[in-house]
Structure formats: structure tokens, C-alpha cells
Amino acid sequence: MSAITAAPARRGPESGPASSLLAPFTGLIERLVPLLPLGWLGLFFVAPLGFTVVYAFANATFGGVQLGFTMTNFQQALSGFYLHIFLHTLVFAASGTLEALIVGMPLAYVLGRKAGRFKALLVIAVLVPFWTSFLLRTLSWETLLAPGGAVQAVLNFLHLHSGSLNWLDTNTAVGIGLVYAYLPLMVIPLFVAFDRIPDDVLEASKDLGAGRLRTFLHVTLPMARPGVATAILLTFVPMTGEFVVPALLGGDKGVLMGGLIYSQYLGAANYPLGSAMAVLVMAVIGITLIVFARFTRGFDQVGVQ
């Protein structure tokens, strides 16, 4: 996937007077070019990450950090209220991913396999709302979910609920907000996976005696597996660290790990504790990545040793 490090096309000295001037340096340039993004990543991603890990084992002084090696921060992060929020966040991200999968799968299936010539149009329709500000879209849900809002009206109309409905500052609101926010990240890889399945493979399944449902279960879904795994990763990983949606729609009750880390850093100024929490989240994400990476491989690699 990552073609960032690919060297630029090699040019011979005959390709122009300008390049012949640079000829002695082309080898150097070709070596330097891939170093640029690597340097960028190192400076702004790996280094801060290193700080975070070092901080996680450091001692917290009042508003400061004293380097050292202690497990106190982790003990603290994994006990009481913090542990509760940590586990709650994982469950929340997992269930949010599952919900997004349940909502996104039929949508992606229709887009990929049934939309025919409206395919491109519908894919754009899925993406267009996400050209507006993330903050604005999340805030809009406040209006929709507030008492007397649109959600209340619809549920009342369908007789699924009667009277006033106040979902603001609840876990439900956070769940809705998360699923909504990450739906395209779920839908697009699934769409690509469904779209890429050749028609004749599905025809072959029907030809051999499988109806629609069995074709879906035995062929379509397994063949979309790399896409499903990618979609789950793309949704679960950012959901674990999400803090804007819980902050806006969850109020006090909607605090998730992201919010907690945020408040440790910028509120309590307890960098070591915040870092320990961040490391825990990263560890979970890392494990998830390792587990799911297996399933994101395409079938041209399956079984090839």
C-alpha cells in the first residue's frame, strides 16, 4: 500500500541539458527524496511517541514531569474510575464498530453490487456530507437529538416512543454520533470489496446450486473479507481515541478515553498519567492491527507461502 518510499523513475543523462547538469547529483537526490517523508514522520510522529512512552514511566510532580521508571501511572490508569472508562471505551468502540458494520454493510452491498449505473452518483452522495466540517455535523446532532427535535418527532410518529425524548448527554447520543461520524470509513472499503468481486464468480455460485443467501454467505462475504477487515480497522482505531463526539454529545456521562487523556494533559497537567493512558490505548490498537492485518491480505496472497 505505501508507495511513499518508492524511488522516482530513473532518468538517464540523455534526458536533457538540465538533468545533465544535475547528473552527478541524481544518485544523491534519489537517495534524499525518500528521506524527506521519513524525516517528517520521525520528527513529528515517532519522536513525540517516544516522549509519550518515556513520560508514561516517569514520575508526576505537581504540574511537571520527573524522568524515571515507575509503574504507578499504569497502576493508576488501570484502577477505579480510569479502568472503568478504559474498558467502557473499548466496549464502546467495539459496539460502535459493530453498529457501523451493521448499518454500513447493506449500504456498501447495494452500492457495490446493485446500484448499476447510479453507482458513482450514490458513492458521491455518501461522501458529500463529509465535505462539511466534522464539528458542524456533530453539533447538528445536538439539534436533532434535543427534546422536541427531529429524532423525537420521527420516533413518536412511528410509535416507537411517546412524549418528550432527551438523548442529549447520554451514551446513546455518543453511539449515534460515532456511528454517523465513521460510517464513510466503514462504507468505502466495504464498497470497494463488494464492487471488485467479479460477476461471473457469483454466477458460478448460482450455477452450482446456491441461491442468493447462500451465495452471499459462501462467496460474496468471504471474498469481501479483506475489505471487511480494513473497514473494521479504519473504524475501530479512531473510535478508540475519539474525544470530540463524546465531549459534544455525551456531556459528563459520555466521557471516553480520548477525553480522559485530554483532561490529564490540558486540565490536570498530569502528563505521566495521560501518557500511560495513551500508551494503553496504543497497545490495544496495536494488538488489533496485528490481529486484523492477517485478514486484510488479498486472495492472491492467500495460501502462497
Binding site: P198, D200, V201, E203, A204, S205, K206, D207, L208, G209, A210, G211, R214, H218, V219, P222, M223, R225, F299, D300, Q301, V302, G303, V304
Partner: protein, 397 residues
């Protein structure tokens, strides 16, 4: 009509299930099939009977409707009008999985996430056959297609020819009454394709299943089939045995499409019992003229290359009804055979073909030769009827 052509030595026991149908019932009967894709008329009133146990090829250029015909029999598309019967049963409302027909797809269409064994056994699994029996049957099928030992590999680990064999085994595992093959050898290289042609014929004889083979390759159709259906622009141009289609093409178009031939254009001087065509080189006597060819009309005479004999103009020539003087343009060595291209003073190109050893060594480019051929090898067609307006242009899809 009740003759079952070609496949008498069928010894496989399973053939018994097909014999329960009346012997006169064709394996497949399609009547008045019409199919339109938006503006394109893909099939235009096609009727066809496929005999039980035969190897039938549907031959035509791309866009002729051959694949559409196959897809309608398989149940992948619905016709706009017309009927499809399989073993006497109307199947027009049945989806593919309810039809006793299986398909070998052009691009193999193997399931990439399953092993070869699971691919082959898929049809049995859908029927609810137990795992043990399934695997045993899959093993038998893989042996039939000469691919034992590949059971646990994945399609991505197989070569094109092997994938083709797996696709064939998978389609045969349920022992359908008809097997549809959609240009299955198209992606293989020449040598492999020729091997597979022999192979397919062997398998067809051993399983005794009716094969419907769609191809645009006339050589392939001629070498494997019992009968050939020649299609063009959504219509059937001719149906007949391989010999019939090659030796007695009913239209100029079929003569052109199936096999090579030389063309001589002229005016009809005599019609009826003996046909004579006045051309710019010589009068041509023909054994056959298409119905409706009348005296005074412009017409085309067709001669197959192997019917033409070449002698040096200086050498004594035996009397033959048709003799055309021409200058040799080039000689192509085809291995056992040689192809001689010669041109008449009027510019008409004639192509002869025969054993290389039978060719006079003095016949070389620039030599003046006499090309002789019997009247029975010449067929005359009205010029406009078939060769006229746009035979090749209206191809799409």
C-alpha cells in the same frame, strides 16, 4: 431426428438417468428467443434444438449472440420473448441454481478463497452431500480432468491450464444434463489449447454429457464438435455437422467465416443444372449455386484452398473444368503443408494449400502457374445477399 449422433460408445452408468427422457426429446430446445440490451438486438428470433449427448459448438464473431444464447440457456439472463426447454421442461422461470445445467466460464470464475477441492465440491455442498462423500467425488472429478494432487492448493497457485481443468471439474461434479462452455480455452496459449481440445472431447465422451461450446474460433469448433451452429448478428446463419458447414456453407458469409477460401467474382452465364460464371480470368463451372442465382446476375464463386491444384504453366496440364492462370506471389511454409498465394492478371488473389512434398520445386514466387479445381469444389453465391451491406461493421458488446 431421433438419432443421437456421435456418442454411441458411452459407457458411463450415469447416462441412464438421461435415457428416462423420451429419446426424441432434445437436451435443450430454444424457440424464438429474442433479447435486446438497450438499443442492441443481441438475439433475433433464434430457434435451436440441441440433441442429447452431442458436442455442439455455437460459432460466431463477437456480438453475434452466441454468448447471449448460452446465458439464456444457463438462466443468467431472461429473454424478452421465446422459450427455453431443458429435457422437455420449460425452465424460463427457473433461476440458474434450479436448472440441470452447469457452466464453465470464460475467465474460470474459481472461488479464490477456497482450495481446489472445495471449489470442485461446491456444487455437492450446495446439494447437502456429506463432507466425506463430497471430497471423494471431488477427487474423482480431479482425476477425470487429470489434475490429481492439486486438491489442497488455492486457485492463485495454479497455472491457467490448471485453473481451466478445475473449472471443468467443478462444473461436471453435479453431473448436469447439459454443460455450457463459454470460450473456455480463449486465455490459453496455442499448444495448451490444442491439448485441451483433445482433452475436452475425451471427457465429453467419457461422461456422456451434452456439451454446448461457445467459441469464435472456427478451427476449434471444427475440430471438436459433432455439429456447429454458426451465428451472425443475433441470428443463426447455418446449423450442420462440421463437414456440412465447411463443405457446403449455405451463405457466402459462412463460407468466409468458416475456413479460408478464394473468391472469384463474375457474371452468371448459366444457372440451373450446370452453373457457369463468366469471370475476368476464365469461365468458372460450379457444382452448386445458392437458390435465387439467375443468369446475368453478379455472383461470387468460392473455392477452398485444398481443392486447388498447382502446375507450372510451361508443363503439360491435364484437362480440368476450371483452370486459371496466375502468377505466384508468395509461398508460406506451414510445416507439413504449404500455402501458395497467386494473383491473376486481373488482380484476383487465389490461395492454394496442400502437402509441401506435393509441390513442384519450380513453383516459386514470380512463376506463372495454372490453378485447377473441379466443378464440385466451387460454390456460387449471389453477390449482394450475404457479402453486401455491412457484415463486419455492426459488431459491438
Amino acid at each position: 431426428m431421433s438419432t443421437i449422433t456421435g456418442t454411441d460408445p458411452v459407457s458411463v452408468t450415469t447416462i441412464a438417468t438421461e435415457q428416462t427422457a423420451e429419446p426424441s426429446t432434445p437436451a435443450v430446445r430454444v424457440t424464438h428467443l429474442t433479447k435486446r440490451y438497450r438499443d442492441v438486438l443481441a438475439l433475433d428470433d433464434v430457434s435451436l434444438e440441441i440433441r442429447t449427448g452431442e458436442f455442439l459448438s455455437i460459432l460466431g464473431p463477437s456480438g453475434s449472440g452466441k454468448t447471449t444464447t448460452m446465458r439464456l440457456i444457463g438462466g443468467f439472463e431472461r429473454p424478452d420473448s421465446g422459450t427455453v426447454e431443458i429435457a422437455g421442461q420449460d425452465v424460463i422461470d427457473l433461476p440458474p441454481y434450479r436448472r440441470d445445467v452447469n457452466t464453465v466460464f470464460q475467465s474460470y470464475a474459481l472461488f479464490p478463497h477456497m482450495t481446489v477441492q472445495d471449489n470442485v465440491a461446491y456444487g455437492l455442498r450446495m446439494k447437502g452431500v456429506g463432507k466425506k462423500q463430497r471430497h471423494a467425488r471431488a477427487g474423482e472429478m480431479l482425476e477425470l480432468v487429470q489434475l490429481p494432487g492439486a486438491s489442497h492448493r488455492y486457485p492463485s497457485q495454479l497455472s491457467g491450464g490448471m485453473k481451466q481443468r478445475v473449472a471443468l471439474a467443478r462444473a461436471l461434479v453435479n453431473h448436469p444434463s447439459v454443460l455450457l462452455l463459454d470460450e473456455p480455452l480463449g486465455a490459453l496459449d496455442r499448444k495448451l489449447r490444442e491439448d485441451m481440445q483433445v482433452e475436452l472431447r475425451r471427457i465429453q465422451t467419457s461422461v456422456g454429457i451434452t456439451f454446448v461450446y461457445v467459441t469464435h474460433d472456427q478451427e476449434e469448433a471444427l475440430s471438436m464438435s459433432d455439429r456447429i451452429v454458426v451465428m451472425r448478428d443475433g441470428r443463426i446463419e447455418q446449423i450442420g455437422g462440421t463437414g456440412e458447414v465447411y463443405d457446403t456453407p449455405e451463405s457466402l458469409w459462412v463460407a468466409d467465416f468458416v475456413g479460408a477460401s478464394s473468391r472469384l467474382t463474375g457474371t452468371v452465364a448459366a444457372a440451373g443444372e450446370s452453373v457457369r460464371l463468366q469471370t475476368d480470368v476464365a469461365p468458372i463451372i460450379a457444382g452448386w449455386a445458392s437458390p435465387g442465382v439467375t443468369v446475368g446476375q453478379r455472383a461470387v464463386a468460392i473455392v477452398r484452398p485444398e481443392a486447388i491444384e498447382i502446375t507450372l504453366a510451361s508443363a503439360p496440364v491435364e484437362q480440368a473444368p476450371n483452370q486459371v492462370r496466375a502468377t505466384v506471389q508468395e509461398i508460406l511454409n506451414l510445416g507439413a503443408q504449404a500455402k501458395v498465394v497467386a494473383r491473376t492478371p486481373g488482380g484476383t488473389e487465389l490461395v492454394a494449400r496442400g502437402p509441401r512434398t506435393g509441390l513442384d520445386p519450380a513453383v516459386r514466387p514470380g512463376a506463372t502457374v495454372v490453378m485447377s479445381f473441379p466443378a464440385t469444389a466451387v460454390r456460387v453465391y449471389a453477390q449482394d445477399a450475404a457479402a453486401g451491406a455491412a457484415p463486419e461493421e455492426a459488431q459491438s458488446a
